[in-house]
Symmetry: C2
Subunit: 80 residues, 2 copies
């Protein structure tokens, strides 16, 4: 089973990396660019085939390694 995890900064948490991208886009001449925020996108392959158990396992992975839950949110999407 494949899983996709999005890890994004919580609203209100400063995102210097996103800001840097925004400034770089402006320097390149792109106009009308508002807020830019950068997150992580992680694709995992799991041997687990039961969706509920897979989701529970990934939930644990996010809590323990993939996300810093003090400042980050995560979203789990399972695929076939």
């Amino acid at each position: 089973m494949k899983a996709k995890v999005h890890v994004t900064l919580k609203a209100g948490v400063l995102d210097p990396q996103g800001k840097a991208i925004g400034h770089a886009l402006e320097s390149l001449g792109f106009e009308g660019v508002g807020e830019v925020r950068q997150g992580k996108f992680i694709e995992l392959e799991l041997q687990e085939t039961d969706p509920d158990r897979a989701r529970a396992q990934i939930e644990q992975m996010c809590q323990r390694l993939l996300a810093n839950t003090v400042i980050e949110n995560y979203r789990i999407d399972l695929e076939g």
Copy 2:
């Protein structure tokens, strides 16, 4: 208009960051974890309201800044 951009390594390109995550998950005791790949997830706010023009603008951003098209693919999703 909001846009979401996924930047991922092309198939066949080594992903040491993904490998590191995989090893870390193993060390933490997670079993049955196959390949792990990490990409970037960028959220942008644009003043442009026309979907076609917005997509064209972001396409340019990806080509010129957001992705290294030699080794990375990108996917653009527009919202509202």
